[in-house]
Symmetry: C2
Subunit: 452 residues, 2 copies
């Protein structure tokens, strides 16, 4: 595709180029422009029809956007800004350097400018920061026919026309209606009579993760956002919510893997930024594993008598870490889906205990068999009794798995209770705790079985 | 709320109850019914207006649904089925025991029954399995006014009316139009002239994860599904896609934590099922850590001379595992967001190498400092030179982090290339490999520094 476009540019077949581009979808054109050499982008962009141009611009890479913004004439910039929805403009502004932002604001009309500034001031993860102000506003005393007139007159610039909001003189939210209901309704009916008054709405400061949960629960297409006096200030549409869900998910996964959340895609993040996102937890977890080292040191005399015990430390710690990680990740995910809450803590611990009993027993049995079959010779040649050593290791395994599952199941709830994000208590964090526990159990059990 | 409802039942205030319920949203009523004692559910359900009843039924817990389905009269069952969209009926059927399914199919009208059977036959994660057949179908030679008549006549039963699909006599997909475009258009215009012909569609067998990615990319409200002859057979709507995205996330997270994906919420899964989902990977990872054990055993003579080295094994393995996990999880997530692909492998390895160099150096320096400050006495009293031991451990740390990041960065790509889901190569899997590597590095470095 890119080669075809480059050939058309070379042969100066601009009419054909324009027709090809007009047939394409904005996200695909944007992807292509991001790959093209910079000197062609502006010329190609000018070939696009106004609306498609704005849609494409929104989908582009921040680098390409910045390049274009710097090349645009004032008129071109105004045209693109006029076609764009305010929430998209805000998204772009957040990625641009100060001088470009200033130019964007200078070229926006005064009302839009003040709206942009308002949205920019909402906290980063709030409903206000992702809303748009382009919605269809109806009055309760309009008839259905008048409502359609209003939609026809103003709809072209609105992000969605399918859900229309009804407000009073002071912009207080009274209800909503959908184009489906309007279409299936008598034209003379008044909006006030037919509107739905049971509105699901959020405050501008609501966390956007909760907004996403409400969309999912109620299958919404759009949701109104109100200020402290329940005056309608904007709406959030489903397409922004899909993006929120994806971002939140990436953030969760990063936190679970002990990485600080990054804003940019992997290949766009510099090595230095990747380093900065990864090193804090690595350092913290390394330092905290000092305790495990201390535990081993304090049992050094025992280990030097019975070195063969050392060989099973990685397996015990690994299995403990994996068991705890399984539990904690399950609980973290259930918490973020609102499947469980604080009050379920005893149900959770009970369930984890019995699951751990089953898992631990199965692992212990298999391990005992494996050690008697495979490690028998090694243990014997080190001067120890294979049955005793296998029993010590298998018993440790059982107790470790139980402790690991209880820690993994309980910790996320506890951390949430304390007001932190439970996602940080996933595998790496739980592993560090479980490592120490499993070693203590191991050495205690070994001490009681062996004549040391 | 539940208490209020129970009081109303006790006082037999059914009119008030009906009014209260009618004001509520289906998902909230469903949540409440799930909590109520079973004997009240049927009576309360009968109080709901037809449409709200069906919407509520869809949102209920499978257990409550099954209870109701068993209590319904044939007429009641038919009423609920008539109001429900086919895709929701299919979802419910998939959760019900055979005798209930038979009854549902017997009470459905013949056409719906054959549609249900068709959808049930599509593979589990395919576009066909999540589509619905209720869409608005227009013809190219209709005028806009005729299109509106058709929407008004048939729209009430359609899952969405906002995107309408244009087909020819043989149901081949020609294009689509939106109610927004129809509203903003002259009533006399023909659909064939104004429709959009550049349609994003999928085949019935397309993976639903790809469907979700297309929705996200193109901000779609609905997407047509076609058969092998590009005949329109159904549509997928954005609300189902939000559910798909959430399910896929849960599945990804479970795979990353070495759990087999579960279908049900945590508290609804039995201990036995939880056990079955968790034990396979635990066993596999435990068995594979036999190698780490073997490595330690083979260096046993060295360890018995210098037991102090044992104390740093957990820290080295832990840091290696965390470093590798960070890299693999980042790559897995980027792969599933289509941010990176196979061809970026060298860019990725290069980036991971330099990040690892930075992380490894930082960790090594901090660790050296920590060991000289905290572990100095312990090492000295074991008869070893603290500087040499600290150097060995820090050097191992650096090399381990580099290996871990390269394995973590490369493995997901390799596994995807081989046709498997890269999510399984997250922390637990990478950790097991990195454990073995880090021990080998540790002992090799120790051998070259110490006179053993």
């Amino acid at each position: 595709m890119i080669e075809e476009i480059l050939t058309l540019i070379e042969n100066k077949e601009f009419v054909k180029l324009r027709n090809t581009l007009s047939e394409m979808n904005a996200p695909d054109i944007a992807l292509m422009y991001d790959e093209l050499p910079e000197e062609h982008v502006l010329r190609l962009f000018r070939l696009l029809p106004k609306e498609l141009a704005a849609d494409t611009f929104v989908e582009m890479d921040p680098d390409t956007q910045e390049h274009l913004l710097k090349c645009f004439s004032d008129k071109e910039l105004r045209d693109v800004l006029d076609e764009m929805y305010v929430d998209d403009t805000v998204d772009i502004i957040e990625e641009m350097p100060a001088n470009v932002v200033k130019r964007i604001l200078r070229q926006s009309d005064p009302q839009t400018r003040s709206e942009i500034n308002k949205i920019l001031n909402y906290p980063k993860d709030s409903a206000g920061s992702i809303m748009t102000i382009e919605y269809v506003n109806l009055k309760a005393d309009m008839t259905v026919a008048e409502a359609f007139d209003r939609i026809r007159a103003t709809g072209v610039d609105k992000e969605t026309i399918y859900t229309c909001y009804v407000t009073d003189k002071n912009r207080h939210l009274l209800g909503f209606t959908t184009v489906k209901d309007l279409l299936l309704c008598n034209n003379c009916k008044e909006i006030g009579e037919m509107m739905e008054t049971n509105v699901i709405f959020v405050d501008t400061f609501e966390d956007k993760e909760n907004v996403a949960n409400l969309f999912r629960k109620y299958d919404l297409l759009a949701m109104p956002v109100v200020d402290k006096e329940t005056r309608l200030v904007g709406i959030i549409t489903f397409d922004d919510v899909i993006d929120v869900i994806q971002e939140e998910h990436t953030e969760d996964i990063e936190k679970m893997a002990a990485i600080l959340p990054s804003e940019k895609p992997y290949l766009k993040t510099s090595v230095w930024d990747t380093f900065k996102n990864r090193i804090p937890w690595l350092l913290l977890l390394m330092i905290s594993s000092t305790f495990t080292g201390k535990i081993i040191s304090s049992f050094e005399s025992m280990l030097s008598v019975c070195v063969v015990l050392t060989a099973f430390i990685p397996m015990l710690m690994g299995t403990g870490g994996n068991s705890g990680g399984q539990a904690s990740v399950t609980i973290i995910r259930s918490l973020s889906l609102n499947d469980i809450s604080m009050k379920d803590i005893f149900k959770i611990l009970r369930k984890e205990f019995f699951t751990a009993l089953l898992c631990g027993t199965a692992l212990a049995v298999v391990n005992f068999g494996k050690m008697m079959l495979i490690d028998y010779g090694t243990i014997l040649s080190s001067g120890q009794d294979p049955v005793i050593i296998s029993t010590i290791v298998s018993l440790t395994l059982l107790v470790t798995v139980i402790c690991a599952k209880l820690v993994g199941g309980g910790l996320p709830i506890l951390v949430k209770r304390l007001g932190f994000d439970p996602a940080v208590t996933a595998s790496p964090f739980v592993t560090t705790i479980v490592d120490a526990i499993s070693l203590l159990i191991y050495f205690e059990i070994a001490m009681s079985f062996l004549p040391i």
